[in-house]
């Protein structure tokens, strides 16, 4: 894992000291709220419905046990004993006090973490495939690229006040688990015909009020040009992005208005200029720096293990619950004898993504003991033990079960993404979490949810789409309709490499109508599928949305003329 160097440490500690002084001046009255607000936002501190909220960056979703324990300590000492893992692989605390925040940021700095650039119109925390470095289908670990981007984008003076926020995601696999086509810049590691590793560069994707599937601006970018090309994209965006209208200020609108070809021409011209005319060489990373970063993400010292393990196989045969958990929560590892274990933060009745301080410590202990001290946070609001030897899986499962963390629902209907919604968020128009809880409760029978199979339900409590509802197999958008919560349902969204936006089925539903509507969609799927292997999404793609519309909105009987 990457460790801070002296520069990183000094920078983060200095930022805390500066913020401590800013808080003191705000409390004394030397700074007005108008002066202070942008300063706190630059440190990831929002004011939500009930209290301040601190958003902490977890770079590319990777952290170690010491960092997770520190997050637990912060939750317990300065918050309400829990944290909320988000769809951007961050963690949010919902109840910090302003006067405690400098101490919290200091505690984060002690474990090489911070909250810088988790708000504001800047380049936000770079996200990545949560199976990075472990996935069997990976071309190359995407995290060195993500770390390079983190270093380049942190406090980048030219990009501190962009027209709007800017999000970058990286995947190292052809199977996209980082939703790269819904980011301002999406990067996919790939090899060209000569076997050289580089990046497919995607630009202008996004969700929010104007959902757009990102388009490929460069089929293959040599590795060494990553920063220069991103700098060129950001420069064109910074110059021409719509600063006159907040709702048209994201890069996706610029790309749509200019057209991809025109935008590409401008970027390529800027790229050439950067390399040839200006200070281009400084944007080609020093090979020694790259080597240091890559070394930080070298594979851990895996044991040479057989593909399976007798104890693990025996437990599979005798323990149905364990077998069910393995069937849903394990993913193939690139190293023989190992598995990737996903820890669901979606037990029935819980708020998706929430973890208590005690649970964080349990996960930290398991990472330290069984996963080479590595943890990941997924954009699906779950935690990952990336490298578990199959022989250790029974012990890991038992410990997770003890901590109520062994829910076997990864990828099933209960594994719901939900934003905080109107229970916490000042921007929300409706609640998300109670809807997720009601759906999870209704489909809590594990046999029933397995019968339904692969299903991604994603819920947002407002048009800003933090819950990724556009790309849910079933998407739910909560709105305020004349003072009542109302939920629009979309189907057919796809968050993978074949990213698609879901289609809205019709009028919205009251909160209590949502679960029956989802059940109706499931029953329609059952009636249409040609085999148990045909997924909900495949049925929507084959049969279209009309059968589902017909099921949700049966035609009214014609009025009786007599």
């Amino acid at each position: 894992m990457y460790s801070y160097d002296e520069f990183d440490r000094d920078y983060v500690k200095n930022r805390v000291a500066i913020f401590r002084d800013q808080v003191a001046r705000r409390v004394s009255g030397a700074l007005t709220e108008d002066e202070f607000k942008p300063l706190r936002l630059q440190n990831g501190i929002y004011l939500q419905l009930h209290a301040y909220m601190l958003r902490v960056a977890i770079p590319y979703g990777t952290l170690n046990s010491a960092q997770m324990r520190q997050l637990a300590m912060i939750a317990e000492k300065w918050d309400k004993g829990y944290g909320h893992f988000t769809t951007r692989q961050n963690i949010q605390y919902n109840w910090p006090k302003l006067v405690d925040l400098p101490d919290i940021l200091d505690a984060l700095a002690d474990v090489e973490m911070h909250a810088i650039q988790t708000s504001g119109n800047c380049i936000r925390n770079v996200t990545a495939d949560h199976f990075a470095g472990a996935a069997a289908d990976e071309v190359e670990d995407p995290r060195p690229a993500a770390e390079l981007l983190r270093q380049w984008s942190t406090d980048h003076p030219e990009f501190a006040f962009l027209p709007r926020k800017f999000k970058i995601a990286v995947t190292g696999s052809p199977n996209d688990r980082a939703v790269i086509k819904a980011h301002d810049i999406g990067l996919r590691v790939l090899r060209d015909d000569a076997g050289e590793v580089g990046y497919q560069v995607i630009v202008g994707g996004g969700l929010g009020r104007t959902p757009v599937v990102g388009e490929t601006i460069r089929e293959f970018l040599p590795k060494e040009h990553l920063l220069a090309y991103c700098e060129a994209i950001l420069r064109v965006y910074n110059l021409h992005g719509r600063r006159d209208n907040k709702y048209k200020a994201r890069i996706k609108i610029l790309v749509m208005e200019e057209g991809l070809e025109s935008f590409r021409d401008q970027v390529e011209a800027e790229f050439a200029s950067l390399l040839e005319v200006h200070n281009g060489p400084s944007l080609i990373p020093d090979p020694a720096v790259v080597a240091r970063i890559e070394a930080a993400f070298a594979p851990p010292p895996f044991e040479d293990l057989p593909d399976s393990d007798a104890g693990y196989e025996a437990r599979l045969a005798e323990d149905e619950d364990f077998a069910r958990w393995c069937a849903t929560n394990l993913t193939a590892h690139r190293q023989q004898g190992y598995a990737i274990a996903s820890i669901s933060l979606k037990p029935v009745g819980a708020a998706p993504g929430d973890a208590s301080a005690d649970q964080m410590r349990v996960v930290a202990d398991l990472a330290e003991r069984y996963s080479f001290d590595e943890l990941r946070v997924s954009h699906e609001q779950n935690l990952i033990l990336p490298h578990v030897a199959k022989r250790d899986l029974p012990a890991v499962y038992d410990a997770l079960r003890e901590a109520e963390l062994a829910t076997a629902n990864i990828g099933l209907i209960g594994d719901i993404i939900a934003c905080p919604g109107l229970d916490y968020c000042a921007l929300a128009t409706a609640r998300s979490i109670p809807i997720a809880q009601d759906i999870a409760q209704h489909f809590s029978d594990p046999d029933y949810s397995r019968l339904i199979g692969d299903m991604k339900i994603k819920i947002s409590g407002c048009i800003n789409s933090c819950g990724h509802h556009h790309v849910g197999h079933i998407g739910i958008l909560g709105l305020d309709r004349a003072g009542r919560e109302n939920y629009q349902i979309t189907i057919g969204g796809d968050h993978t490499e074949s990213l698609k936006m879901g289609q809205r089925l019709g009028r919205g539903f009251d909160a209590e109508e949502v679960v029956p509507a989802i059940e109706q969609l499931v029953q329609t799927y059952f009636s249409l599928r040609e085999s148990e292997a045909e997924t909900f999404l495949q049925v929507v793609e084959r049969a279209g949305t009309q059968p589902f519309k017909d099921a949700l909105y049966p035609a009214k009987e014609p009025a009786d003329a007599g």
Binding site: V27, E33, L47, L49, H50, A51, K97, V99, A351, P434
Partner: protein, 110 residues
């Protein structure tokens, strides 16, 4: 004919702790909504808010519509303000609703 103005109260968040406060009839910021100053005249509330003695210690002042209960209790109308007043509906152990000196209904069914 213009519609009659609806009753409002002023609300804000405490600068230091972030929790929800209301502007009282005495011109102080207080956690006690029941003692909030109610007026249908937004200018009147704004004038009181401007004069509030601890104004420097609050942020995000906003005027919210209320309905007066039979006992005169000013109850927020918008769901957003009801939740803000009580706390998360999915965690009744958190927020103002966890303060048992404040009377609230069933939070989940606001």
């Amino acid at each position: 004919m213009p519609k009659p103005a609806k009753p409002q109260i002023a609300s804000a968040n405490d600068l230091l702790e972030g929790h929800v406060l209301y502007l009282s009839r005495d011109g102080e910021w207080t956690p006690d909504r029941h003692s909030a100053f109610v007026s249908s005249d937004a200018d009147e509330i704004a004038a009181l808010a401007d004069k509030a003695s601890s104004n420097r210690q609050v942020v995000d002042v906003a005027f919210i519509e209320v309905a007066l209960a039979d006992d005169g209790d000013p109850r927020p109308v918008a769901l957003r303000e009801v939740i803000r007043d009580r706390g998360p509906t999915i965690r009744t152990d958190l927020g103002r609703q966890a303060d048992h000196t404040i009377q609230h209904g069933q939070a989940r069914n606001v």
